[in-house]
Symmetry: C2
Subunit: 338 residues, 2 copies
């Protein structure tokens, strides 16, 4: 299925030198994606020509005169930068000119602007950010990752439903399991919000697995892990920090002596296979779920290789009608509750 | 300084075959520790004799007829098992017969019983569980790890003060830095509890570093990281899960082919040095801070090597007068606030 994806070319730590090459590579790999490159026209076209490419029917450029800074307050970006690359990309989705947009820009601003431009789906109070993490069994989806630091039980239920529908749509799993992150698996564990959310999930028709603990995320106990945005954000960043620490330690040990260097040289293909397997770049691309449009957030520090995974994710979601699925499921739940 | 440590010999997944050998090894290594082995006398003495040891002035046995199950409800254990090994060990601390106790048993029961027997220090509303984690710079302390799933700003402040005094006492750091775990480092980030806790910490005389994010834990940004018990528990368990997943993947890659096995054989000393460096057993022993007595929780799955680190930790805390330091600091803060 042919889809059009709008790209915020200016977002992220490096902007066009990352986003534009990723687009060109994705365009060659997947002939079914057309792109609208959003950003300062001169900068985008300069990068295209540097790479020997030029605009065409599958590669349009849409000018946006402003850029939202990575540390800019979302409310300010929303109010004062009406022609930012994020805003213009979201508008393209809102107007139906693009089926999805991708940005590596300021997460808070991307969420605030997307929410303002696209609005939430019927029955959804708050959009959430979902990402994929590798597990012992393959991978899992976790949300929210920081959009909502305070959540009600109803919000957590909605997160579970949205992400469950995402997995059904994109991965064609029939009844993905949904776990609720808690400090123990017994019924008495946790705070009131989590306990009440578990009751709601149990009654919702979700394939509710029950409580999961922190280690269950990476064990791959469930297809979906639901938590509030505070916990999800801290877990995700702590995981990044731990992985980086372990990588640094391993590198240091392999440099420790001549023997170690030699062993490291021999082990290089093995280490590289390992690195490929856990390469977080392959999991790049978080979904802003619950909006009337598909918005994918790339990591700000993504390189072109990683950014392309976020583009692929956008195309996949656009092709599978995940928004219609969420809407239908929410309507069915409201009907059965009424 | 000579100290007496009471050991719950029955706690943990394996009980005496782990705890008793660890005690004997610690006794040989550190002639300044005397032990009271708490548990079913027949079981403990049988294990001692199996290991060619017998009770003596530095190695007394105190009978306790009951055992708290690892999954038993804390309230039930507290109410109905008055002669459990946890209860008897805590009593020994309460009566001044031991300066500290160590248990690998049920965490909730250990906390409930310790709190009932020992009470909290003046000015401390709730005890918290603190542990040490390795970082890029060495190690850090993090609390709470699950004793308190809901915290007020005042609780978080008290956690910061207690753990700061722990670091001052045990590690002789003059002004340990204290970070407050949040979803971003800007002032506007986080929920109301965290924002208010930051204000309290800033005004408290603590060496408050400000907000830290999940990755800052393993970067070693601060000496102490404060969070509520829900977040701390999930982060700790997710870290365990991630480390296990990475170890499994690495092992699998090194078994993938004959070449990989050979490379693995050559890299074995390097991998072992790496494993030693991040060996979680060396960080075993979480402090139940805020009680009128020193209580150390060992991981339930600890082996004798790991359990001995928990014993060492108990002896260190007993020798450095951390409880007096916390009490003094709390009194000083109350006085300056009055």
């Amino acid at each position: 299925m042919d889809v059009t994806v709008a790209i915020d070319c200016m977002g992220g730590d490096r902007g066009v030198p990352v986003t534009v090459p990723a687009v060109l590579h994705a365009m060659r790999r997947d002939p079914g994606i057309s792109f609208i490159l959003v950003g300062r026209r001169d900068r985008v076209e300069q990068e295209l020509s540097r790479l020997g490419a030029r605009p065409g029917p599958r590669l349009r450029v849409q000018n946006a005169s402003e850029i939202v800074g990575m540390d800019e307050a979302p409310a300010v970006a929303l109010r004062s930068k009406k022609d930012s690359s994020i805003r213009v990309a979201a508008n393209l989705v809102g107007q139906g000119d693009a089926a999805a947009c991708v940005s590596a820009g300021n997460t808070g601003a991307l969420m605030a602007i997307s929410r303002f431009v696209l609005k939430t789906l019927p029955g959804i109070d708050r959009p959430a950010i979902a990402t994929i993490l590798p597990t012992l069994k393959g991978h899992t989806h976790i949300l929210d990752l920081g959009a909502n630091v305070d959540c009600t039980p109803e919000h957590l239920l909605q997160f579970g439903i949205m992400c469950s529908e995402l997995v059904i749509s994109v991965e064609r799993k029939e009844r993905p399991t949904v776990g609720l992150l808690n400090v123990g698996v017994e019924d008495i564990k946790g705070n009131d919000v989590v306990k009440r959310a578990a009751e709601l999930m149990r009654a919702s028709g979700l394939n509710f697995y029950g409580y999961v603990e922190g280690d269950d995320i990476y064990k791959g106990a469930t297809d979906v892990v639901v938590c509030d945005g505070f916990v999800g954000n801290v877990v995700l960043k702590a995981s990044e920090g731990l992985a980086q620490m372990l990588a640094t330690y391993l590198r240091e040990e392999f440099r420790h002596s001549l023997y170690n260097r030699l062993a490291g040289l021999m082990a290089l293909p093995v280490i590289n296979a390992f690195k490929h397997r856990v390469d977080h770049r392959r999991y790049n691309g978080a979904s802003l779920l619950g909006l009337r449009g598909i918005v994918i957030k790339s990591h700000g520090s993504a390189d072109a290789y990683a950014f392309e995974f976020a583009i692929q994710r956008a195309a996949e979601e656009a092709r599978t009608g995940v928004l219609a699925h969420i809407t239908e499921r929410m309507a069915a739940i409201h009907k059965s509750a009424a």
